[in-house]
């Protein structure tokens, strides 16, 4: 699971009012290089919750992102920033670990890169 997906995921348990962001517990991170696409980054940027993204990148062991969300104009020209944004968003995978519901503490295990988001019957 990439940080792109983590930034979109929230806990869906019945009764939970704010299931975002899921806390990340890391056992294993893997890196996979993918080609950078500036258009994609510019298009997705306004939808990223920066604080959650920044925190997630730290937990994943990446410390190069600015803590404050940059102005969108930065994405037009700052190639260095685009590269870091790309790396944190699309190249870092949580391979083993867990996602934890911020409200209930319920753990969603992540195995082979796949979060198990299945709810128990009493959570639906």
């Amino acid at each position: 699971m990439r940080m792109l997906t983590h930034n979109m995921l929230s806990s869906n348990i019945k009764g939970v009012t704010n299931g975002f962001p899921l806390r990340i517990e890391v056992e294993k991170v893997v890196e996979k290089q993918v080609e950078i696409n500036h258009d994609f980054l510019r298009n997705i940027f306004p939808k990223i919750d920066w604080k959650a993204f920044f925190d997630a990148s730290r937990v994943m062991g990446y410390a190069e992102l600015p803590e404050e969300a940059p102005e969108p104009s930065v994405l037009e020209s700052d190639l260095e920033f685009l590269r870091k944004f790309h790396h944190a968003l699309l190249e870092l995978h949580l391979e083993e670990g867990a996602l934890v519901c911020p409200e209930t503490g319920r753990k969603f295990p992540v195995n082979k890169g796949i979060p198990n988001m299945l709810l128990h019957e009493d959570e639906v």
């Binding site: 699971m1 929230s10 869906n12 298009n43 997705i44 082979k112 988001m117």
Partner: protein, 291 residues
């Protein structure tokens, strides 16, 4: 035994390791699923600007549909209830992220973040009660409600489905409409039992010009009702159910009037300040059927 997998076992049981492998290694299935996915992406009608979007693949299985999304240059997140199917997707090193989840429990995604969704041959599974705790109506409600919320306003979802019968199709569609979606069903090859395919084409947000149902292959643009069975035999598309276009109107727009209608709509759009292609002799002309 029935040939409908939906009637044999719950999806996470039916798609076990053996079935997942069988499913994915069949070149016939791969070909069909790829065609369905390509058509769904076409109906999704994303802006033709080369910008990769973030899409959802609901019931992504072993990634056949997702691979089509990747080939079209987009990013995707896939959700499936079968670990075995997802394992095959992992082996194939698909480029999308995979989630093990049950769409009937609702999609746990933030509001408004997804640019579009497709689902290929999966949503009809929701009509079955596979556990004593399953109430199909509640599961359809949870699914469509959460799908509506996670899509960006104006975004589309195109769901290719195999409803067992008319009632099931109506059930699925009614829950989509209740969730707030505009749109309807597009049927390809309506007169062939084998190649007949149905797509729910849903738009998120209040109905507007941009939410009218897309024209299908070999379609006039206005011949959009079930009784209009003229035209070249199988290769035809019919929208059979479009809640946001009153039936009456469909009848009025008979052949010949289509061009006038299109010209009028284009004029309206121009007045609103939208960029509209110029009117030419090609405007509103019948398209050649494509396969």
């Amino acid at each position: 035994m029935s040939s409908r997998p939906e009637l044999q076992a719950p999806p996470e049981i039916f798609y076990d390791d053996t079935e997942a492998r069988k499913y994915t290694s069949s070149s016939r299935i791969a070909e069909i699923q790829t065609k369905l996915s390509e058509r769904a992406l076409e109906l999704l009608a994303l802006p033709d600007d080369g910008v990769p979007r973030l899409l959802l693949d609901i019931g992504c299985g072993s990634g056949l549909s997702g691979e089509t999304i990747t080939e079209n240059g987009h990013q995707w997140i896939g959700l499936d209830i079968s670990q075995s199917m997802l394992n095959v997707a992992l082996e194939k090193e698909v480029e999308g992220d995979l989630l093990l989840g049950d769409m009937g429990q609702g999609l746990g995604l933030r509001p408004g973040v997804i640019d579009g969704a497709i689902s290929i041959s999966a949503v009809q599974w929701l009509c079955n009660a596979d556990k004593s705790s399953h109430e199909p109506r509640l599961r359809l409600k949870a699914f469509f409600g959460s799908l509506y919320r996670c899509l960006a306003r104006g975004a589309r979802a195109v769901l290719q489905v195999y409803p067992e019968n008319l009632a099931q199709r109506e059930l699925i569609l009614s829950y989509a409409m209740r969730a707030g979606f505009a749109g309807g069903v597009v049927v390809d090859f309506p007169h062939s039992t084998k190649s007949r395919k149905e797509y729910l084409v849903l738009t998120c947000g209040p109905p507007s010009l941009s939410t009218t149902i897309p024209n299908g292959k070999g379609e006039d643009g206005e011949s959009c009702s079930d009784d209009e069975s003229s035209g070249d035999e199988e290769n035809q598309t019919v929208c059979i159910s479009d809640r946001h276009r009153p039936r009456k109107k469909q009848k009025i727009n008979k052949r010949g009037k289509a061009r006038e209608w299109v010209l009028r709509k284009k004029e309206q759009m121009r007045r609103k300040g939208n960029v509209v292609p110029p009117d030419t002799k090609y405007t509103a002309r019948k398209r050649k059927s494509r396969f």
